[in-house]
Amino acid sequence: MAVNAGFTGRTYPPTAPYSVGREKIREFAEAVGADDVVHVDQVQARARGYRDVIAPPTFAVLLAQQCDRQFIVDPEAGIDFSRLVHGEQRFVHHRPITAGDEIVGVLTIDSVKSAGGNSMVTTRTELATIDGEPVCTATSTVVIRGGAESR
């Protein structure tokens, strides 16, 4: 089943705020082997001018993927999650994600394309603090591989 192209251009309402915690940043940094002390040491982070410890550059995917779920689990979208693979990801950081941030995401479906039984969906998530300060623009392309029935 092809992904519903009618979703192109749709923007979802802002998500509930996500509270960025020091220990989640530490856990993520350890998982990806990011050993810069700025992820775990508040004193060092402050000495570099940050308010608190900051997240590694790809931490934003955690928030962006939670936003994407609004679309992916929408039955109207017609996405078979078991056939979904990540094709491309890009981040533009307006400033580092920092412990203590309360972040909301606004998801927009930039494009839905289908070709050769596969569908390609590009989504954009604007992450900002609850006060409206822009934090990160995350763009993701996923491929939903066609099943046997579409070949």
Binding site: K24, E27, F28, E30, A31, V32, G33, A34, D35, D36, V38, H39, V43, Q44, A47, R48, Y50, I54, P56, P57, T58, V61, L62, Q65, Q66, F81, S82, R83, L84, V85, H86, G87, E88, Q89, R90, F91, V92, H93, P96, T139
Partner: protein, 143 residues
């Protein structure tokens, strides 16, 4: 407390960044699954991965991307200086139970803008003979 962040004056196009190899095994996939909340079965359920035609479980593309950027953060001296980062997932990193997988990341400077103090780094990320990330590019702001 002094902390050395790389100066734009010390960076030239063509400059190579020290490479870094990350060993990925099932334990690292579980750790990343928990940390990222990306719990797709492809990354931890061998039976499921095989049922959709993969040879074995595969690493999250974002896990590979997350380890590769360490090359840039280490070189700059502050992870917070990475202002742009993007990549395509060109080949999966297959992680067998025995032996796991080694992902090697290296980088080269492709552009330097003294006025904005920005440098662009292109990353080469491989697992064995496979190029696992394509168009992997990061932009950093230097001192």
């Amino acid at each position: 407390m002094s902390h050395a962040v790389l100066s734009i004056n010390d960076v030239q196009v063509g400059q190579k960044l020290p490479s870094r190899t990350t060993h990925i095994d099932r334990a690292s996939l579980v750790a990343y699954t928990g940390a990222s909340l990306d719990r797709n079965r492809l990354h931890w359920d061998e039976r499921f991965a095989r049922s959709v035609g993969l040879p074995d479980v595969i690493a999250h593309g974002m896990f590979t991307m997350g380890t590769a950027i360490n090359v840039v953060s280490d070189w700059v001296g502050d992870s917070g200086r990475v202002v742009e980062y993007g990549a395509r997932f060109t080949k999966p990193v297959v992680v067998p139970y025995e032996g796991g997988a080694d992902v090697e990341a290296s980088g080269v400077v492709t552009a330097v803008d003294a006025q904005t103090r920005r440098a662009t780094v292109e990353l080469k990320v491989t697992c064995g003979t496979d190029k696992v990330l394509g168009r992997a590019v990061a932009v950093v702001v230097l001192d």
